[in-house]
Symmetry: D3
């Protein structure tokens, strides 16, 4: 990857450098976890709601499980949304339009899957945690910031559940940590953590969700312009691994 | 009103005292006006969007006006919404439900009317300003905080319009300032600026929108429990006038 | 209020005069109460539906109340709507649009609150009364006519419930009567009971819901043009008290 | 058809007798045609809206027609709906449900087709007439009453269009009159004009739309219970022809 | 009917001739009945779903019936839809539009009624059969082909229910067979089984649903252009009876 | 990858073997491209609609481009849907539910992006091609089959556009071919082309969209169970490259 030496990014970062990352716990008074996560100018509010109940479909499944003396489980889900003026131009509210866009649903599902990838829902017991990720300000990477912040809100909510007696104090609900970062190819150059201005001109855009122990939970790579070849893919994955490793460290430091 | 001397409110305030009010301008980087307004624990983000165009219906009206050599005008509107976990219990997103509640629409309309009450839309020119009031945290008085904060976001957006050349520098778009406060009767005692715990037990609940010069733009009073009589009404209005006067001073001080 | 002596209203009324009011009971064969109410050219059909059941949410609440040996209660609600050609121009049906406007919801909620303000829902027992207010012809004051007529439909439905054995014969379900009237300021002159032509040019528009005993249930005043001052407010309230007093007498006379 | 001599109908009518039919013109002040039509206890308000414009799709077609020097045309359409408490049990509003039932759409389309069957839309010119048929009270035959009343509202609206100069005074817009009646088989006996109590127990139910000159515009026959044979079909059609002939006479008499 | 001797149809058929009819059973691997029915170029996939349960409303009715020692019953229903490119021009998906057209609902209801007309739902037991009729290619007569094919899918599903033990082996669920055909008048000439090109130019269009034993279940005749008289009606019914008789024979032959 | 030698798949295939693939061109008479694609029991109908127009948003963009003497372009999009009984259990229609699921939207967007990845939309000219992928029968891999079949429908539609004179005969609209295949890890074993039974038990599931020349357009990998490590990722990509290479050959052979 010697070619990228002379690349100058608009914000002065090196090609393999994250934007300034800031994670604030207990941001609001409501929410069993309340986190403001910032990736540069991207700001996402992650609010966790802990409920001592499970969705109807799981309630039924657990009932059957109990009848068969099998273990019951909880659920973790997420909802992603953007405030109308999170972006440079105002977007119409999805509540006003009366329907959720495909993009919103796609990201909500992605955040939920990413969290469930590191949760042992049997250890959670018959509880449900919902993480609301509301983008206050968007400058690229809103889904990766959401996942990274949602993990902290989730962790705090699980602790709340233990402190409140809904989850066993010794339960190992979290099997690992999780974070996400975007990588992309711009003018042939792989880059880490794209702000909007880079993202919109990237030939290839990839979001990589990883655990703190370095495994993959989700890879979503799309050639917006030219298809990418095997070696470009390898370079992108390397960058993403570097970025996620740094995020995992930042997350861990919040609990030191 | 000598009877209320011994009332003790849960947060220690006197019956005629506002909660701590905090208005932060330029809260985010996006938005032609960006304000965080706090009435105690109630926090509302007010983002103004200035657009150099008008809604379709007004575009047609202005076209006809021009043909008749009459003046054209702009538009000011507002949208109110709550984040799902702004409250103690999580509410389902209106975008997910696929429709906006009557309450949400009622408040959006109220905020818009309140702002238009102090705007000269002819002086605004063919421009449109939308104020998004998104409640981050709700503890009673979200509509009054929204109006009070929306005014600041509006004022900043008009200045942006002037600085950007869309509005005449000398235009008197704002005829006055506007703020709003709630009053209510609790156990027979009129009180100012109700937090959720008081609001939910009030016999009568009234929201009063006033101009900086002390006139009324909107009065909405509802007997939740017992109907109220003429003298109670007079007492409530007095309290509201006191509260709004203080808010108007706070608003004015932001521009000193 | 000596200034208004020379005002000539388009329909020849004095400034403090109601339009011809007509309330017809048993207008249709269906409905446990069936009322046609006319405020001049405004005609609203108020149909009451009495059901010996309560909504799901109240069913649950009553179940809990019973377990705790607390009293159970009923529910009174209302739905307001306009026929598409009630007005001079045809409006698209809300069923065809697929959603209810904010205005429709606002008025439905207002009518419901106004009725509940004079009902003892514990005396009603576990019954539900729904009042449908459908505007056949609209000429201003549809919401005030709806409330005034809905009260009669409600009263008849309660009697039906007693005659049918669903409500205790001696139950004091109604604590008072309720009516509503609009007042407004036109060219600086306060006026009572505005038809459409006046309503659309009023600087201030206020709807006042009062009990037969002269107390307030709801006040909704809006400055459409210029904000109004304290003395104008006082004058408007006086007019509204006069109008509601006359309506209360008309309502009472229907049962003599 | 000698077998039916001894049939006794609940309302005392002969098997081939219509219910009392009443058609009131100019029922309300709004609407270019305003008709209350009553078939026994079934009451439908038919309001015509005349507009000097055509729907978008027809506007485009007419534009192309003009370019090719072909004649342009107008449009006639209808919307059917029921008030929530038109029936013995209250139905939820379709506006509240957020969608129109199949039944409502089916009848709206039927009424529209029936009217267009006797209209020369080229003679109407570039005008649009919408007939709103709102059922105030339903006791069977709401769709046949709607068609029968809608014709009168349509005729009055066309006259209004002529008087207002939108339609050529000599235009032959109406080619014929139109009415509709239901017939059915009950306990093997064909009967005319079924009220709800008969309709709900009929083995076969047929709605027949006919012109004043005795031709068919629409036949909709459904075996609700037992399929019907050829001779039963013949008998039903005979009854329907008799009923429609009487309705046509009643309609014609309104203009004498 | 001697006049029609010289009619030449675009596809070379005689006026009283069906298009080539093809019914393929077990077309797919899923579905308890899976039928592809072809009326010329019209191709409809009819998939039956057998479920050992009934809809909620019937579940309640059956529960009451059991309490009164009355027989319980099952349900047969149908859903009709068109793929977006079944026609020459692509239609927007109804799922994307977010609502079902009146036409789609009308046909779904017609297919359901037609099937229930020959089913003894008490013999079916507490089971539910849903027939999905999805039009792959549309060239006129999609509703008649749907009914004709749906009957075969239904019959196969009932047999599956017997083989699976959900329906009594000796139950006489089907009282008869059912088929449907369109007839129409084109240039004054009655014709059988109209493809799109004929259907769109027909003055009168009629769909006739009949049993294998020659009785009528549903007649829907509409004058698209000129109203039709009694003798034309008689001729159309004759043609329809001929066509349905041939369809009934084709259906019966599938089980020989 | 020597470990997988002894794996026995339920359908007898080797771990790196595709299911029987069948692609039928000109499957129906409608559609400018009409393809039935089968991956084992998965059957998807891919219908292409060629229109000599572009969506509104692109129409505006092209208009601006023309003003600036820049090249104009066309558009390629796709819609994916499942028939209600494509699966073992019937799913409610999305048109009946009134909204499209997140899954449906996600796949529609994926298919569209995949096709646009190999199309030069400037060479297409101001034309729009829509590919409808309707799943008749689903047994895993419906999105990969859709992409693979959609490419053939697209290629045929472009040829139709050339033959019809809407696209320049020499235009190089297609830059490459495109296909897609699923890979997954089951019991630690990477496998190619998963049917439903394997897909639902896979720990990791990955869909890989590739060009005929071996480049990547989209990678979507999700750890359903355990997160996967770098070497597993490498193995999955190898399998996917093998599968897509075979699909590309099959696609190419259709035009020999």
């Amino acid at each position: 990857m010697s070619v990228e030496i002379n690349v100058v990014r608009q914000d002065g970062r090196n090609f393999d450098e994250l934007r300034p990352i800031k994670i604030t716990r207990n941001y609001l008074n409501v929410g069993e976890g309340s986190v403001l996560v910032e990736f540069g100018n991207t700001k996402v509010l992650c609010e966790a709601t802990f409920e001592n109940r499970v969705p109807r479909w799981l309630y039924e499944e657990n009932r059957h499980a109990k009848e068969r003396h099998q273990p019951v489980r909880g659920w973790v889900t997420a909802e992603y949304a953007m405030l109308p003026r999170a972006t440079e131009d105002r977007n119409q509210r999805e509540s006003v339009k009366g329907k959720i866009s495909g993009r919103t649903q796609e990201i909500s599902r992605l955040v939920g899957r990413s969290l469930r990838g590191i949760v042992d829902i049997y250890e959670l017991g018959e509880n449900q945690i919902t993480i609301d990720c509301d983008v206050l300000q968007a400058d690229g990477g809103t889904r990766t910031a959401s996942i990274t912040g949602a993990y902290i809100a989730l962790k705090d909510a699980i602790q709340w559940g233990k402190d409140s007696g809904f989850v066993n104090m010794g339960a190992q609900v979290l099997k690992d940590s999780v974070s996400a970062i975007s990588v992309g190819i711009i003018n042939g150059q792989p880059m880490l953590d794209l702000p909007y201005v880079e993202d919109s001109s990237a030939e290839t855009d990839m979001n990589v969700v990883m655990t703190g122990s370095g495994k993959f939970i989700e890879i979503q790579g799309t050639a917006e312009g030219e298809p990418f070849d095997h070696s470009e893919l390898v370079n992108l994955l390397k960058l993403a691994e570097k970025g996620n490793k740094e995020l995992a460290t930042l997350q861990a430091n919040l609990y030191k």
